[in-house]
Every structure is written in C-alpha cells, then in structure tokens.
Amino acid sequence: MKNILMGNDAIALALIHANVDMVSGYPGTPSSEIIGNFQKFRDKFEVQAYAQWATNEKVGFEVAYAGAIAGRTTCATMKQVGLNVASDALMSASYIGLKGSMLLIAADDPGFHSSQTEQDSRSFAKFAKIPVLDPATPQEAYNMVKLGLEISSTFETVTMLRPVMRVCHAREICEVDEKLEFNPAKGEFQRDIKRWAAVPPAGRFRQGLEQIDRLEAIKEFNWTRLIEPKLQDLKGAKTLCLTSGTGDGYVKEAMEEMKLEADILKLDMPYPLPKEKIEALFVDYDQVIVFEETYPCIEEQLSSPKLHGKLTNDVHKIDEFTKDKVLMAFSNVGLINKNEFYKSDKYAAELPVRPPNLCPGCPHRDIYYAVMKVFKKKKSIYPSDIGCYTLALNQGAIDTVLCMGASVSMASGFSIADPDKTVVATIGDSTFMHSGVSPLINAIYQNHKFILLILDNSTTAMTGRQHTPERANPAKIDIKKIVEGCGVECYEHEYTPEIEKSIDFMKSLKIKYEEATGPVVAVIREFCVLDKERAPEKLPQVFAEVDQDKCVACDICTTQYKCPPMHYNEDHKIEIDPFLCIGCAACLDDVCPTDAFVKVGEIK
C-alpha cells in the first residue's frame, strides 16, 4: 500500500506495524513528531499501546528499557542531545541486554538547524557498543524500524535507529504494510538478579565478555544479511564509495547527473562493521571514499591506504551533505577536475536577516522586557535555558545557553564567581521538570544567591506544544509546590499584557533578593499564543498602530522589545504589520517613551 509519509510518520507507523506497544521519550527537533504520530495511529487503528512523554530522555529510556527487560517490544525517542541525558542508562543497558526488544531512536541534526551540537549518534552507538541503523529516506526509516527490532530481539540488545533531520522531516511516497495485525508481546518480568542488577565487579566481567561476543555475532549478521546481498551490484569500477544514511542519496544523484563511474556500497548498519571482510573488498579498487554524516564513524572502523574521507581531509567535516560536497570529495581524491556544476551565485546585495523570534503577543517577550528594565544589563548576568524563550537572545536578555537545566546550576556558578552582579536565570516549565529541579535543590542546599524565574506556559512550546507534567495533572503536579518542597518560598506572578504589572513584580523580587541569603524563586504563569485551548481568552484583541507624528525612531521597540510586526517604513518611522499583530495590546503600555503606539482608530 502506498502512503505519503513524513519520516517521523513512517517511523511511527512502522512501530505499530512492528507490534511496539510501549513508547516513551522527550520532545526535541527533529524527533518530536514520532510519539504524537504513534498516538494518532494507535487511536486510528484502535489498538492498546502505551505512548507517553517522559519528564526527560533518561526517564523515557528507562521506562522503555524496563519494558524490554520484561519482554515487551518497546521504543524510546529523543534528539541527539537528548541521548546525552539518557546515556548513563544506555551505557549500562548495553552490558545487561534485554529479553524482549527495544529500539532507541536518536534523531540527529547535521547542519545545526535546531540544535546546539552536530554530534553523531552513530558514534555514540559505537561508544556504547550497540548496533545502529542509518536510514537515508522515510521509506528506509520505515523498513529499518522493523529490522532494528528484529536485531534487538535476536541479539538481546538495545538497537539504535539514527534518522537525521533530512529523514525525519523528509516526505516520500512510501510502500507500507497493507494490513495491521497487532500482536504485542506479553510483559512478564522474570527475576534474574545476577543479570538485571548491575552490581560490580564479578557479573560485569561476564557481561562485558558477552557484549564482545554479541558484537562479533552482529558483525556477522551485518555481513551476511545486509552487505553480502549488495555485492552483486558492484560493477568493477576503479573507485568504491562507502555510504551511510542520507550521504547515499547525494552520492547517487551526483553520479547520475554528472555521469561519473564508481561503485557504491551502502552500509545500512554503520556499526558494528565486519572490518576484515569489508577491507578485503578494497583489493579490487584504486581508492575507497567514505560518505557519512557527520562524524567519521565508518572511517574510524576501517584502515587502508586506499581509504579517503574526513580523516584524510577529502570529505567535508561539518554541516549537511550537498551534491556539491560530493563533487568536491571526488575532486580532492583526483577522480574529477574541480567542478562547480552545483554552484550558483547568491543574490549580490545584502538582504535583511530574518532570525527566528518570539511570536507576536508571546508573554516571554514582556517578562524579559521587565527583567531588563529592573535588573540592568551592566549589573546583571542572565543565564537561560533551552526552549522558545532562548529567542529572547534577540532582546539582549540572555547571556548564556548551554544545555537543558543549565540555567539553574550556572546561576549558582556565576553567583559564586562574580558576586557583585545580580544573576537572573530563566527556565521554562518543561525544562525545569526535565533537569531544573536537582540544581535548584543544590542551590538551596549551598545557599547560592540568585533569582530564578520559571516561565510556565504549561506546554513544551518550541517542539510543537507537547503536554507537560503539570498540564496533564494540574491537581497533582504544581511547580510552586515543587519549589516549596525543595525548601524555599515560591513567588507567583500571573502574566497579563499590562507590562507595568510585570515590571512591578520584578521590582518586588529585587527587594526580596536584597534581603535573601539563598535563591529567590518565582513562577510566572504565562500561556503560549499558539495554544488554541488557552490563548484566545487571554488575548484582549486590542490592536495597535503607530502615531507617526509621535515616533522619533529611537530604536527602543526594535531593540529591547522586538515584536515581529514592528518595523521601519520608508519614512523611517515605525509601522505595525497588521498581518502579524495579534492584538495583545502589550506595547500600548510601557514600551514607547513617546507613547507612539496607540489603539487602532485612535489617531485623530
């Protein structure tokens, strides 16, 4: 049956077709749609399956892993930096193995589209000693979900699927199973303390030896099942291209379009590789080039003077693939002359940059505006975190972004290192639940003096508005109670578009801070303007325009407030784009020193 699927749709559908009935994970671009789509397919097909967001990736992994220990067919989803968070669990799970099967989906982001690193999860799989599959297209992702679970079940190991953004968010007409026969495995935990309780040292040596044997067996599987059947397609060219994932498509297309001669061998499982058998193929070739994203994972497993890749400076080392980069590699190894077929001139004049920004009407903007009004830049440090609010960088209201939860622990560090400044840290509600709580306990425990603002819009907004723990269980989980339980008072501010109220609240926190000996914590109750359930009643629908006579082009609104509808017109006066303004009315209050923002229709 043919179906038009985005990569993350294809993965979700394959999970159902492969009888997965436990999925757990944490949102992160480009992986976020997998769980939501799984829930949609589950409901559409009316089957029973657990598919829920966890508080973070480590928790998500552990929920799914326990399921697999108990014999179920499970899956954990996350983005590549989420795998860092889950890695503690993964490293041990790799030694211990499992009874059912488990697919770990770690979605990578070559080109840094939505991520702070370009790390290669295949190399992480190699470090953790688990097999990894690297799909090139949504169709392959669909097929490899099933293959990965088969490998997991056969070898009793967690198996990784590593789709990149250009697979997760690619769209393709895919061939998928016609019928759904959903027969999930029954969960039944069988006590085996020596295996399931990772206590050193004796049992660990044995499991370490088993892990080595397991990898050898998987290498053999990789050769007989995945590599050997492809050898008949090699045509005896002088050059062999070893490809992995999306790299394969770029190489194939460039060769077809440029009419180049080379053999291509795609390695579906880039780790573990049957090194000696692959190297034996090199005898027939003058040179071998490895095309992979983003680290030299395959290249590092092989050795031959004929081998070219990132380690020999022949293939690009950073950023996404393009066909131009394929040609460059071919030219670097002397296969073709320098070729600029895939190059074309950019528009010559400078174009205004359009960085992502907080949405019009977003409460975050007002809160950061108020923070900067009360806690002046010269005397403050603003550590922040991962989420939509990171975009307050545009307002100059954020100094540091590191990783999930780091705002709180870095606020501790800055308060020790530079005590003359006021540290004002900001973190979102989902990120606070993810990894903000333990650094807050640490700060209270150690009396670190700073201000922490928890910006609670009750959704994981940046990744597509997934539910948060508080949103799903408002009667049970409350940020205020969590903060109080950690040991300090939690001040609370209900956001409204009247900016003065937010400024007054920040002033009250400043007084608390002056008297405090430890962290001063506040939760700001906000909403997301894209949240269809909550936003409509919160927005006053009062639209603004600019009194051109009053505008003095002082730049305050375009630098400190930065609402997308505000821009300069040809007369060098500010104008509000009526298509973008959503009527929050916030700018009418405090933003303009000459009161040029007025309600639509009020200009006489």
Binding site: K2, I4, M6, T29, P30, S32, E33, H113, S114, A136, T137, R166, H169, A170, R171, E172, I173, T246, D248, G249, Y250, K252, E253, E320, F321, T322, K323, D324, F341, Y342, K343, S344, D345, K346, Y347, A349, L351, P352, R354, P355, P356, N357, L358, C359, C388, L391, M462, T463, G464, P564, P578, F579, L580
Partner: protein
C-alpha cells in the same frame, strides 16, 4: 519526469502545506516524490525553505542551480534562495511589490500582500494563492488544476472549498500580471 521546487517564505506562512499538496499531486500522477521541510526554530517567524523533488531522485535536498521553480511567499525570501534556481530555465513566482529588483531569471511577480490588505483574499491562504499563480503562469509546472484541486481536497476536505476558491481567484488575478 524530473521537476524540482523550492518553496521559500517566513515561518507561519504555510510553506509546509505546499510541500504536502505537491507530494499528494505527485502521487496522483503516479510519480515518485521526495521533499523536505523546516520545523522548530525556523517556525518562529524565521526564514523557511522547503524542497519538493518530483521524479526519480534519491536525496530530499536541492543543490544550487537545480530548481525548476521557486515559489517565494515573500520577496526577500525569494532573493535569499535565488541561487537554487536553474540558470536558464528556472522560474520564480514571487509575492512582492514594485520595488522587487530585476533579476536574471524568469520572474512572475504579484503583490499578494496588497491584495490581502484590500481583503481580496484571506492572508491565511497566501500559500494557496501563490500556488494558483504558479498553476496559471509557470508553463513547465507539471500538475494540472484538477490534480491540485484533488490534492487540496485530500489534504483537508473541510477547508478545501475555501482554498479552491482562492486558487481560482489567483488564476483569475494572474491574467492582469
């Protein structure tokens, strides 16, 4: 058949909707189709560029100098992606006013913002409007009006009548370009 489309715009303008419509249209023609979209950071009012490749392709992204068509939902975003067009055969369909510079590519220009401002069509349907202009004015566009209408209906049957109305209005408006 091989036909490559770049869709450029601003987060929130509905570029991804066009990727979906064109992939459905390709399936109706029994053609292979690979495309790719921007999610996440780029949604928040930032620059967005999406790719659709109809025919026998292996990778979802489009290289410079390869696109047959560039649909630009906003002028500057069109210029920002102009290097993707084929040098001699590429066409840009762009939503821009009279200040849009003269460029060395076949350019079909319409000030859709002005028409939306005059309430001639709802701004939310800008993507469909520009698709209508494309249907009417790109002689190499591989899909027929019927195929696009069917694709829009398959995308969202409830919204289809309104979208198809905008599509027809754009085709009508294109006569005066």
């Amino acid at each position: 058949m091989k036909y490559q489309v770049v869709i450029a715009g601003i987060g929130g303008q509905g570029s991804v909707f066009l990727v979906k419509v064109l992939s459905i249209a390709a399936s109706l023609k029994d053609q292979k189709c690979l495309g790719t979209e921007n999610h996440g950071m780029s949604q928040r009012g930032g620059s967005v560029s999406c790719y659709v490749k109809v025919g026998d392709f292996h990778s979802p992204a489009i290289d410079q100098g390869q696109a047959d068509l560039l649909i630009a939902l906003e002028g500057n975003e069109g210029l920002r992606n102009i290097q993707y067009l084929k040098k001699d055969e590429g066409t840009i369909i762009v939503n821009a006013d009279s200040k849009f510079p003269k460029i060395e590519y076949e350019t079909i220009k319409i000030d859709a913002f002005d028409k939306a401002r005059k309430k001639e069509f709802p701004i939310q349907a800008l993507n469909v409007y520009m698709l209508g202009i494309t249907l009417a004015r790109d002689p190499h566009f591989p899909f027929s009006l019927n195929e696009i209408e069917e694709a829009i209906t398959q995308m969202n049957a409830k919204m289809a009548p309104k979208n198809i109305e905008v599509l027809h209005q754009a085709i009508e408006d294109s006569r005066s370009i």
